[in-house]
């Protein structure tokens, strides 16, 4: 194999596929990137068996071939080379030679035949949306998946397609995040649960370009994201997702609207008084205004915020982090909170329910 690349093309491709490289594996081949120039195009592939990424790289093929090279070292070397053309070749002893101007590297590679290619996925069931929209949907929901593996379904996000509506849902037992958007076309009904890790990596690769599209193809056990010159294939999480519609309610006894930034800043300030593992709630006392207070071993904080209110006065406590997470991804200047009582969930939602954030309250001592 003998290939020539512009350094920047090579770096770009490495950055994309390295998202699917195992960082610590007992199988050295899983720490490798496959460079496949066995046909007329050059592809780079990484596959940790949960997530696989394949991308095309522009370059010149002087001699066809393929090889699997350790991702980390290969990436570090290429990044440190002079900004010039890079020549990559292999010898019969499975070494890879890298030449750029006067610099010569020789590093051990692995035989390509040990490498697992991406699984094949039929392209009959799919949806299409802009890269920007997908990236936003992920950002606005990913924080409320569960980090804990006890319930596998909670570590992923539900993608629910119903005609021209796509709803993305995540929940961790204390809160639910829901974003809904209209697609340009109508598609077959489909529910899949995509691993959170996949979505995190996808969102790092997506350019966030509003003009560029991304296709989601649904296989039996896999999902494939296809965009630009890149394919990302991930296993789906098996099982029936939670019936969230049963948990959503439009009843309320108190409805308040207030400035989002003021609320966010205030809650973030209150969190300065808590340390990790400390579960002090932020108390909201809603009367004609909202009086927020925090009381911990490190001190006390209280602050008043103007609100517009309909309904009853209420005093309720929350894990402040859950409020901060939701408020951070809401772009509206004003937010509206719907409350029932101090034991029932609070809903933050807009009029069209394009977003719904449900947060369970916590018990607190009134005397605190």
């Amino acid at each position: 194999m003998k290939l020539t690349f512009e350094k920047s093309n090579l770096i770009n491709a490495i950055n994309i596929v390295s998202k699917a490289v195992s960082s610590k594996s007992t199988l050295p081949i899983l720490e490798c990137i496959l460079i496949d120039a066995s046909t007329d195009e050059i592809k780079m592939i990484a596959n940790d068996l949960e997530l696989g990424i394949e991308t095309k790289v522009a370059g010149t093929i002087t001699e066809r071939g393929k090889t699997a090279v350790p991702s980390k070292l290969f990436g570090e070397i290429i990044r440190k080379l002079p900004d010039s053309d890079v020549e990559i070749s292999t010898d019969s002893a499975n070494n890879m030679m890298i030449v750029c101007e006067n610099a010569n590297f020789k590093i051990p590679a692995n035989p390509a035949d040990e490498f697992s290619y991406l699984p094949y996925i039929e392209k009959d069931k799919y949806i299409c949306l802009s890269q920007f929209t997908l990236k936003e949907l992920i950002r606005q929901t990913i924080f409320s998946i569960s980090a804990n593996d006890n319930n596998k379904l909670m570590t992923g996000e539900l993608f629910e397609i119903n005609e021209n509506m796509l709803r993305v849902v995540s929940l961790d037992g204390h809160r639910i995040s829901i974003r809904k958007i209209k697609l340009n076309d109508s598609y077959e009904k489909k529910n899949v649960v995509v691993p959170g890790k996949t979505l995190n990596e996808i969102s790092r690769i997506l350019t966030g370009d509003n003009e560029k599209e991304v296709f989601l193809f649904f296989g039996e056990n896999n999902i494939m994201f296809e965009f630009d010159d890149t394919k990302v294939v991930s296993r789906l999480i098996e099982g029936e997702y939670f019936n969230i519609d049963r948990m959503l309610s439009s009843d309320y006894t108190t409805k308040i609207s207030l400035n989002k930034k003021r609320l966010l800043d205030c809650i973030e300030r209150s969190m300065l008084l808590i340390r990790e593992n400390d579960r002090k709630p932020i108390i909201m006392n809603i009367t004609d205004d909202m009086a927020l207070s925090m009381n911990s071993t490190f001190g006390t904080m209280n602050e008043r915020i103007e609100i517009e209110k309909e309904g009853k006065d209420i005093m309720i406590g929350f894990n402040p982090k859950f409020f901060v997470d939701a408020l951070k991804v809401i772009d509206d200047e004003e937010v509206t909170l719907y409350l029932i009582n101090s034991k029932a969930p609070c809903f933050i939602r807009d009029d069209n329910e394009e977003y719904v954030y449900l947060i369970l309250p916590v018990n607190f001592n009134n005397a605190g």
Copy 2:
């Protein structure tokens, strides 16, 4: 006590003095900042007993007083407040109240009388230089102090004043870094060894302004840096510093000049093939050009660089990190290396010896 500040003035002062706050101490008072408004001016002081910093803060005194407040929490709260005036007051139970717009904090403080003020230093022995120069001198030498406490003197830097010359020296047993500058005035002879930690913190506080001065006052066991509205006092390291002039030699059998950036880039690339604790040397084979090579379990690298040479051919090995550290702080485009043989130190120095970097070679296997 009752004081009012502009938030930005307060943050600036906290950023300066907090460099002298113990991060982990058994004495809570060492984690505090003293706010002293017992006279007509407001001072903030921190003192971990090795290093002490005092700075003036602009603000309004409504009621005089002083208090010691936990540095970390106080700083975090002030930074998170709205950009507005901040009112700070204390009550009789040693609490500090912080009020800014609608936000109210109450945190426990400590009685001011537990706090240690900075030691007094006579101002008769001193030198003066620009903040920029001092910051540069530190940056260009600090990397070769020893992290290891076995020899206390190696953890500091020698400041040697001789008439209008200041020489700053650091060494760790494998290398020596020397920078020499001309002062604007002549001063009394003086040798002091300043702790590396002090110099690191000082260099973070100095603005690096060429127009602004910094005074160094020399006490019996302490040094005081005075600049802007700030005083930094540090203990000196006791003992006689190494006689470095005996280690410096102007003899050489090989002298080469080459492009600094090319050499630096090449050595940095070679370091990709070594991991921590791996002591593989970079081998320089100097003939009509310089052939650099690295050979490790991760692969091999070689690269040729054009040089101008006087004297004999030589092959010599170095710890690549030592070369990188020195080359990074040399601003010249071309550097000159002076060599004697493969067991004698290499000198990197300019014609006026404004900088001298001595690096000991390492043994290597020719067959490698």
